[in-house]
């Protein structure tokens, strides 16, 4: 379970998260929607300790992410994250991109790592592209590779940070299909997204972020279907 308790985060004098509390159960898909700069992406960075927080607490399976003694490298093995920019390692082939972390971090043998990588890449539909360098892939393919790379660590949780925002419109679908497949397989996911319709389809719950706070959280039919707060209504009007 991922639990956020009154999390506060600021960059200098800019308050990005102003006391965010929520929890995500095992197997649950939570979508986070809201305008740019509302703190959605920052929250994901805080969950796996890529960004420090200034107040509150984040617990992942009971481990305090930001406590002094926490081994973040260990913790990150069970929290996969995929970013808006797919961040391929350009000097490695697709297969090597996915093999790297299982080999170096989990200490798998070359053969085991390759097995895992081939399995995950096939899973996201890149089984034919193993020996290719990322530059030869489309954005959608690179993004799916990034998803396979995160999945190769067999994480318990997956965080997705606007993974379709930097893609050409015709490539969005293939990445969303991959996400949908993961949700159907029971992966616990937090999905920061601007794809409202998609969020409505795959999520168990939706959270609406506005100016560093959660304004509404609940099942999609409620938050997207019958929003209560004026901020939510305005936001949905502007994007739908």
């Amino acid at each position: 379970m991922i639990e956020l308790k009154d999390v506060r985060k600021n960059f200098g004098s800019l308050e990005v998260l102003k006391g965010v509390s929520l929890s995500v159960q095992k197997g649950e898909v939570l979508s986070v929607i809201g305008g740019s700069g509302s703190g959605k992406s920052t929250m994901l960075m805080c969950i796996n300790g890529l960004e420090p927080i200034q107040g509150g607490q984040i617990l992942v399976d009971g481990t305090d992410v930001h406590a002094r003694g926490t081994d973040l490298n260990k913790l990150r093995q069970k929290i996969g994250i995929v970013f808006q920019q797919w961040n391929a390692f350009p000097h490695l082939t697709v297969l090597e991109n996915v093999m790297l972390a299982p080999r170096k971090v989990l200490g798998k043998s070359k053969r085991e790592a390759e097995e895992i990588a081939v399995k995950q890449l096939t899973h996201v539909g890149l089984g034919e592209k193993l020996k290719v360098y990322p530059s030869k892939l489309s954005g959608g393919q690179q993004q799916r590779m990034a998803i396979a790379r995160a999945l190769a660590m067999s994480p318990d949780y997956m965080l997705f940070d606007e993974v379709t925002s930097a893609l050409d419109p015709q490539l969005v679908g293939e990445v969303l299909d991959t996400l949908k497949m993961l949700s159907e397989e029971g992966m616990t996911m937090i999905l920061v997204t601007h794809e409202i319709r998609f969020a409505r389809d795959v999520s168990d719950r939706v959270a609406f972020f506005h100016k560093g706070l959660i304004h509404e959280i609940g099942v999609p039919e409620q938050v997207i279907g019958r929003p209560q707060k004026p901020e939510t209504i305005d936001f949905l009007k502007s994007v739908l």
């Binding site: 490298n73 990150r76 996969g80 390692f89 000097h91 360098y133 990322p134 530059s135």
Partner: protein, 217 residues
């Protein structure tokens, strides 16, 4: 009909000089690259209070003409009565000079690796060191290689300046012959040709590596 007083012995003398040029270049580039990578890494990753003093020293090495550095270092060697050859002094001075340039090349290469890529590496559970060795260095190498090849070729030509501290390398050897046979154009053309033949393989090697990497990424 073209006639010359240049003898085979002279050609041999020139080639010996070329050997010295290559040897000095080898040590200077080897030492300079190792030191340069170290300093470059420190420059790219350290807080300002470590960075500033190192940057200052490297700036001095880069901005004082090499000729002055050779002569000063050689004089200090004599004043301090150090038992080292002029050859060693030449290699050390040139290695430090190379290190100063190499450090900037390495620093630039490291800083060219996008922070988001490093963040992705760390998010997979890689440690700081794993990120450096598996992601940052290989990516930085591809950025830095062309400048590094340029630096190596430059250093090879800069070795000519060690003639000022009494080392006979290719240029000094050709001067000696010119003085004797009075055919400066011919002798210097041959010396120039030898410099070219030494540089060309290095330049080609660099170009080949670059091409291979470009095909990858």
């Amino acid at each position: 009909m073209f006639e010359t007083s240049l003898t085979w012995n002279d050609v041999l003398f020139l080639l010996q000089g070329a050997g010295t040029t290559l040897t000095i270049t080898f040590w200077a580039v080897l030492g300079g690259t190792i030191l340069g990578m170290l300093f470059g890494l420190i420059r790219a990753t350290s807080p300002w209070w470590v960075n500033a003093p190192i940057g200052f020293v490297l700036d001095i090495l880069r901005s004082v003409p090499l000729l002055i550095q050779f002569v000063l270092a050689n004089s200090f060697k004599s004043i301090l009565k150090l038992q080292v050859s002029a050859f060693t002094v030449g290699c050390v001075v040139l290695a430090l000079y190379t290190a100063a340039y190499c450090a900037e090349i390495v620093r630039g290469g490291i800083l060219a690796v996008p922070p988001t890529t490093r963040r992705a590496a760390r998010s997979l559970g890689m440690t700081y060191t794993q990120d450096l060795t598996n992601i940052v260095f290989p990516m930085a190498l591809r950025v830095a290689l062309p400048s590094w090849i340029g630096l190596t070729l430059g250093v090879m030509k800069d070795t000519a300046l060690v003639l000022w501290i009494g080392i006979v390398e290719l240029l000094r050897a050709s001067q000696v012959i010119v003085t004797r046979i009075q055919e400066p154009l011919f002798v210097l053309s041959i010396a120039g040709l030898i410099y070219f033949l030494m540089s060309f393989p290095i330049a080609r090697l660099g170009a080949r590596l670059e091409k291979r990497w470009r095909e990858d990424d």
